[in-house]
Amino acid sequence: MPVAEPVIANDQDTGQSELARRLASTWRQPRGFWGWFCNTHHTDIGIRFIVTSFIFLLLGGVLAAMIRLQLVRPENSLMGPDLYNQVFTMHGSSMIFLFAVPMMFQGFGVYIVPLMCGARNIAFPRLNAFSYYLYVGGALVLWGGFLTNTGPDVGWFAYVPLSGPAYSPGHRADIWSQMITFTEVSALGVAICLATTILRHRAPGMTLNRMPMLLWEKLVISIAVIFAMPAVMIASGLLLLDRLIGTHFFNPAEGGDALLYQHLFWFFGHPEVYIIFLPGAAIVSTLVECFSRRRIFGYTPIVISVVATGFIGFSVWVHHMFATGLPQLSESFFTAASLMIVIPTGTQFFCWMATIWHGRLQLRLPMLWCFGFFFTFLIGGLSGVMLASVPVDLQVHDTYFVVAHFHYVLIGGALFPMFAGLYFWFPKIAGRMLNDRLGAWHFWLFFIGFNLTFFTLHFLGLRGMPRRVYTYGPDMHWQGLNVLASIGVVFMTAGFLVFLVNVLRSLRMGKIAGNNPWGDAGLEWAMSSPPPPYNFLHLPTVSSRDPLWEDPPDQPVVVGLRDDIRETLVTHSLDAEPQHKDEDPGPSIWPFLTALTVSAAFVGSIFTPWAVPVGAPPVIVTLIGWLWPRGQSPTPRPSGEQWSR
């Protein structure tokens, strides 16, 4: 097919050409107040996920500071038991449900995955937007509850019978249960979008064997989310039914079982922590490759490790229940599985070390955070090996030793890679570089503070201090270590403040970043920073694992897609051969309206079961509006017609 205009490479796109102007007009998102609610482009939604989850990280951190202030002295009176119980429950729930998954999986995924795939937008863009609004709804419900004395006070995992109707009067535990529903539906939505994007919207030539590590990880995590989230929704749903309408799922007197809740919860809870950790590992894989200036060592073993972690992660949940008096045989099985999951993670560590060893390390700021990750996550993972062993776990379960362990793996495995990723992709998102010196201060302040606080907690646990105690007696000899742990908070807070200053300053006067300031290999660096609304001037093709490094200069691009409608390309899931064209639905208010009606139904059902039949019709109405046919159907074309080599 004759090409009408000269083909401009993606990284030469200044937005001035005729094609660029037409694409910008076709793919533009509406402006203004209502326009904000109609936006369905993945870069904007991704930024919203990142910013919103960061706010909840800060709020959760304030709660943590309150906890540490309360524990600095025995029999301290800063907070009474009721407020303290709410504070630590809110801390855990906010960090896990409102920060970790929305940032690591949803935020980074939604922003980067379509760019890395070489697509113009994420698959199911309206579902993506809906997921964001539902997440915000859940966050508002939880925090609104907390600010009106209705915050949950039963721990972030809300074991029955304590969270059941007999021992948690009022609606506090109901608010927690419904927040779960909000956030998990949101995660499921994004999982569907990402899995579809990765499987069907990759650039032609990007076979599975050539997919970047981050896409492999997001694919595995999306499937893990689809299997894990329903378990916790069932657990919280059954809890809601017990509390609201008097079912007996967890009532032993009527044939129910308190342990059933724990099984359902932890069947979700353990994969959840891999849902939080694996995105961090993928960020580290990407950055290790970039800053060792070579392709990653052991691509296949790392991919297999990621898949294996996602898989084995579903078979270890009982290690959270070793103290419940299980038969020895099952305890041994779960010990074995929990030890087995160390092997894929260890493989990744060895491959990263080999990459750096046989590469040329440039210790730029994002890589510094990766080294922080190596140190911190290693300690956390090793203390996890201790916890996998049943006799040791029986001593340190539900003590500050476990608190130390999971903060090392969660902060090491998520927060350090998160900051690494933020420093790495901030130039792409905002078009400016973050300041290196402030970043180094941020790293060292946070690293020192974190280790001071959480390493100390290992000793506290061994000295007998259990979790979730609002105070302790002066004759327990726990005060010294508690003081030490509380001092670390000061450093961590300082680090966060430095980061915020860095971001706000750099947004205004940071060094202008070009397309690819780090010299990375991924397709997301192939266009200007920030990306134009249509992402790529021409949809790229790839012929290697590291496109920007290894593809030849005359690597073909996709032509033949219309630029007057939002046409996208759907490719085959295995070998990324083009299959047919599809049309992006464009901006729409319906995801927001549907999120409103769904939120109203969920919130109403906290107070009365009638909210379900009464709340359903508006949801149906908004869904009808969402799904109303638009009159344009995709025109499938036989494959091969669009290649213009």
């Binding site: 052991g298 160390v342 750096i356 040329r360 140190f375 001593q395 005060q479 010294g480």
Partner: protein, 339 residues
């Protein structure tokens, strides 16, 4: 620098490093169970420390060896020969990892078996029922009048196996005495059993280790291990009914007990007070601490606890009792006579 040194809380740090474990330390066992677990802990700890040191050394060496300081991206490189060598090294490392994990699995399972079953057929059986927020302790006996009921303080003979039967009246609690053995959750609707044996006489502190509501922090218990003859003397004492008050003030104290809110919740065997809502007080004066190991068992603490328990344990089930001073004094005299 020197002036700044005085701001460091040296006293706290020294206290933190204090070697006094307070009889509730995982790594200061007083029982074979805790001893086995401590052994396992140190073995795994040693192995993992070696792993940690090796890994950190590896990353540091890799970074230092190849590190280049530059502010612009350096050219891409590849090292086919290095990759070939690395394949062997990584493979070897994975193999060592698998073997190490297998060893850890085996020693864990073996230790688990060792702490699992009692060594003798004649254990002392104790029924522990957890309530919000205290421990009801019963020494069951086929003969009803030989059954001992007490609260929060468990006496055991040194060297004899103790079997604990667990239950909970309300929410999930967890029985944990770090110096003695690992913890066991007490789950309503489940009754499980575990055993331990204490080899050294002493008093060992324990605490509830599963979040159970407002006063989870103050739900302690203690295990008093004593020589067999002392234990039997204690048992005999516990079986007796409450001592008759000998002074007129103690008689008045008993009257106060029986005419105020006390008898609605507490039992003193030998009197009309027979409620099972709160702990059994028949031999309260013989215990070391009160309020589930929160306060020492002294006259002042007892008085403060009786008058306003909500001040000390806000949310506890016991109500404040604003008694007239003479009544309170008499009540204390009576209660402290109940050895």
């Amino acid at each position: 620098m020197k002036p700044a040194l005085k701001f460091i809380p040296w006293r706290f740090l020294v206290q933190a490093m204090s070697l006094d474990p307070g009889h509730h330390h995982v790594l200061h066992p007083a029982a074979p169970q805790a001893g086995n677990i401590e052994w396992l802990y140190w073995v795994i700890f040693g192995v993992l420390t070696a792993v940690f040191v090796l890994m950190i050394a590896g990353f540091t060496w890799a970074g230092a060896k190849t590190g280049v300081a530059a502010s612009h991206p350096l050219p891409i490189m590849e090292d086919k020969e290095g990759d070939h060598r690395a394949r062997w090294v990584v493979g070897l490392a994975m193999g060592v990892t698998v073997v190490t994990l297998f060893v850890i699995l085996v020693i864990s399972v073996v230790t688990g078996k060792r702490i699992h079953g009692p060594t003798s057929k004649n254990p002392v059986t104790i029924q522990v029922t957890a309530r919000q927020w205290w421990w009801e302790i019963t020494y069951p006996n086929p003969q009803a009048d030989q059954t001992i009921t007490t609260a929060n303080e468990i006496h055991v003979p040194v060297g004899a196996p103790i079997v604990v039967l667990t239950n909970s009246k309300d929410v999930i609690h967890s029985f944990w005495a770090p110096s003695i053995t690992g913890k066991r959750d007490l789950i309503p609707g489940y009754s499980s059993a575990f055993w331990f044996q204490v080899d050294q006489p002493g008093t060992y502190h324990g605490q509830c280790a599963e979040f159970c509501g407002l006063q989870h922090a103050h739900m302690g218990f203690s295990v008093v291990a004593e020589p067999v003859d002392q234990f039997q003397a204690w048992q005999q004492q516990q079986l007796k009914a409450a001592a008759e008050p000998s002074t007129s003030e103690a008689v008045r104290g008993r009257d106060v007990f029986l005419t105020h809110a006390c008898l609605m919740c507490h039992t003193i065997r030998g009197t009309d007070a027979g409620s099972h809502v709160g702990p059994d007080l028949t031999h309260i004066a013989g215990r070391n601490m009160i309020a589930a190991e929160t306060l020492p068992n002294t006259a002042g603490a007892l008085a403060g606890w009786i008058v306003d328990p909500q001040r000390i344990k806000p949310g506890t089930r016991m109500s404040p009792n604003p008694l007239a001073p003479d009544d309170l004094q008499a009540l204390i005299v009576y209660l402290r006579s109940l050895q």
